[in-house]
Amino acid sequence: MELTERYDPKADAWVAAVSGEVDIYDAPEMKERLHKCIDQTPADLVLDCASLTYIDSTGMGVLISVLKHLKDVGKEMKIVHLSPYIYKIFTITGLQNIFTVEVAGDE
């Protein structure tokens, strides 16, 4: 997994890009880094998943915990460029109902 995160002051939002595979091994690091962003500067979060090829349920759990954190501070989260296959997994788990998601190719 590769994760880059930067704060965009013009948009007042965090833009994070995650690539590769997020699984039970990588999920704790992703959780720590995204929560740290919100603690540092509470702002909306755009998660760019254009190069995300796999995410398991522990990674999805991280996304849920980050969303809860953002809601607690009155901010929003948007997931963009999600692959159609991972979106299929989102629909199986019902996550498409709690996240704002843009699927790659649909936007």
Binding site: E21, D23, I24, Y25, Y54, D56, S57, T58, M60, G61, Y85, I89, I92, T93
Partner: protein, 125 residues
């Protein structure tokens, strides 16, 4: 065609990638479709989440990938008992729901709070 590939990994998070990659490689060798391949890879990952996230004692997990005439089956067996650790029930439900949805058959054998084995099957053309 009945062929089996066996992989044994330490029951640790860092080796889940190896099991997924093997699933992918074996499924490719058996000429499964991309969607079937992705489903099997996903199910292997979730099965290992169920087995690894709940244990304190690390042993090994033996994974058998088997191609039959009209199905692809995966069996994961722990080689020793485990000391169950507190786990998030929502997380476990999520893992099970994913495997259930992607595979045609699923069994989970749990003894005293320890997932000892998981098996699943996907029908293939």
């Amino acid at each position: 065609m009945n062929e089996t590939v066996v992989l044994e990994i330490p029951a640790k998070a860092e080796y889940v990638l190896a099991a997924r990659l093997t699933a992918s490689a074996v499924a490719q060798r058996f000429a499964l479709s991309i969607d079937d391949l992705e489903d099997i890879k996903m199910a292997v990952g979730e099965a290992l989440v169920l087995m690894i996230a709940q244990q304190q004692e690390a042993g090994n997990i033996r994974i058998e990938y088997r191609r039959e005439d009209d199905a692809f089956t995966v069996t994961l067996i722990r080689d020793a008992g485990c000391e169950p650790a507190p786990r998030d029930p929502e997380q476990a439900e999520l893992s099970q729901a994913i495997i259930d949805a992607l595979m045609d058959e699923l069994y989970i054998r749990e003894v005293s709070g320890c997932v000892e084995s998981i098996g699943f099957m996907k029908k293939v053309g």
